[in-house]
């Protein structure tokens, strides 16, 4: 949160860096517009209360980090998301009022100065949306803040499980190896030397498989 306040230069980046949403630069210009049913200036004043509980606190964390309680409160991801949502709300209201103003012309061509003003307000709206984006990015960073530990534990558990899979493989190979050895011993005992080659091959095969199932105590189950 504090990061975002600092890293985002305000629309008029002269000081009001943490409360850009509440001070759109076109406010005065818009409120001085002639022939408007309700001026964009009025919009800004209507939406400001929505932001006002949040904005001063954002300002406070950005500038004085004295109160650890407050800092702790701000580190809450949900708080930052709520703050971002309220900035989006203000941008939505501003957008709505811009559209109303344009619709007021009812197909008549809008004078160029008025168009320029509408575009300036649209720029403000998009700037507000970028501040909301910055806050969402902060919130997302908070989410992953404490995840290293659970991730590490899960990786260890997964590695242990992989080792168990290997050991179960070992059971199979040992069984095959015992079969091969019995065949070898039996063949020799009976003088059936023709089978000795096949038995040795089996032993080698299972032995090789066991070696690939390393590390450690392969023969044990």
């Amino acid at each position: 949160m504090a990061t975002s306040s600092h890293s985002n230069p305000g629309p008029a980046s002269d000081g009001a860096n943490t409360t850009p949403p509440s001070t759109p630069p076109r406010e005065q210009a818009a409120s001085s517009l002639p022939n408007q049913p309700s001026t964009p200036g009025a919009i800004v004043t209507t939406v400001t209360p929505g932001l006002s509980p949040a904005a001063p606190q954002a300002d406070a964390t950005g500038l004085d980090m004295a109160g650890t309680d407050r800092a702790h409160a701000l580190s809450s991801m949900q708080y930052v998301v709520d703050l971002a949502d309220s900035v989006v709300c203000i941008a939505d209201d501003l957008h709505e009022r811009i559209l109303q103003e344009i619709a007021g012309y009812n197909g008549r061509t809008m004078p160029d100065p008025q168009k320029a003003l509408m575009r300036a307000l649209t720029d403000d709206e998009r700037l507000l949306r970028q501040y909301a984006h910055a806050l969402y990015a902060d919130a997302a960073t908070f989410v992953i803040h404490d995840l290293k530990e659970p991730q590490h534990r899960l990786m260890v558990l997964t590695a242990e499980a992989a080792e168990k899979i290997r050991r179960i493989g070992v059971i199979g190979e040992v069984t095959g190896l015992v079969g091969g050895i019995l065949l070898l011993v039996g063949s020799i005992a009976r003088g059936q030397f023709s089978q000795v080659g096949a038995a040795l091959e089996k032993i080698q095969l299972h032995n090789a498989a066991l070696k690939t199932l390393k590390p450690g105590s392969t023969a044990k189950t």
């Binding site: 990015a137 059971i171 005992a189």
Partner: protein
């Protein structure tokens, strides 16, 4: 000597073969469906690339803020994806641990039978060999199956708390992605909604037409992507719930009720995955 070997094998095997076989098929299916769910990684990438998509629609002032946010989004992207990779690896390993293919030792037991047969001249009859081989097959299966189910049990019990934490983080992140996407949609479409009505001179007609086409395309694009956030969240919720239920029912995995429940989660996850991949 032969008899001694056989007795030894028999004793060893019988000592370990005290429990019945546990059905791990549903566990395997669930872990498999969870590992293959999809959605999150793609939406993480989409979130990472927000700046590039928005860039043409931004004023210079807004672009400066956006550029800074872009740097911060990209700095944590690997961490976002690592969460999912950890979870996928866990699920894949669980699926493999609960797998049945690798535990089919028939071929190896046949080898053992062949070995025994070669020693039958020393008084052991053919039918004894067959009996021993059959029994060994059964008992070795029981050893591995018991070891296997115990391992699955340990993995699910010990892993559940961390699995829940990671999935919860993924769900929260997906919600933030969704909010950011909504904000992006308003940035992009909002510009056209304001500009098109203001451009009502004859000279603007061609431009307005093109703008309307672009607006239509963009509207359709955002409508499609909106659905994917919901699907991804639903899928992750199902994975979390399914794993939790599996953890709670580890001692009765073979019961009809538990198997049916896990199969239900698998069914839902497959539907969600199909919906995600079909769009």
């Amino acid at each position: 000597m032969t008899r001694r070997v056989l007795v030894l094998v028999g004793v060893l095997v019988a000592g370990c073969a005290s429990t019945g076989q546990v059905s791990l098929g549903e566990v395997r299916e669930f872990a498999n469906a969870s590992a293959r769910l999809g959605g999150y990684a793609e939406l993480s990438r989409r979130y990472r690339d927000t700046y590039e998509r928005e860039l043409p629609y931004l004023s210079p002032q807004a672009e400066r803020v956006a550029r800074d946010t872009n740097v911060r989004r990209r700095a944590v992207f690997d961490d976002f994806v690592a969460i999912q990779k950890t979870l996928v690896l866990y699920m894949q390993t669980l699926s493999s641990l609960a797998g049945d293919g690798r535990y089919d030792l028939s071929e190896r037991i046949d080898d053992l039978g062949g070995g025994l047969k070669a020693m039958t001249d020393s008084g052991l009859q053919q039918r004894h060999v067959a009996a021993y081989t059959g029994m060994t097959r059964l008992l070795t299966r029981a050893i591995t199956s018991r070891y296997q189910s115990r391992s699955v049990d340990t993995m699910v019990r010990d892993g559940n708390a961390d699995v829940q934490t990671l999935i919860d983080a993924m769900i929260v992140l997906t919600r933030i992605y969704e909010k950011a996407n909504e904000n992006e949609r308003k940035t992009v479409l909002g510009l056209f909604n304001a500009e098109i009505p203001m451009a009502n001179r004859n000279a603007d007609r061609m431009l307005v037409t093109l703008a309307k086409v672009h607006l239509q395309n963009k509207t359709a694009e955002y409508k499609l992507i909106d659905r994917r956030y919901k699907l991804a969240q639903q899928g992750l919720t199902k994975v979390a719930l399914g794993h939790q239920k599996m953890r709670e029912n580890m001692d009765k995995l073979s019961s009809e009720e538990t198997r049916h429940m896990l199969a239900g989660y698998v069914h839902d996850l497959n539907l969600i995955r199909d919906a995600l991949s079909g769009e």
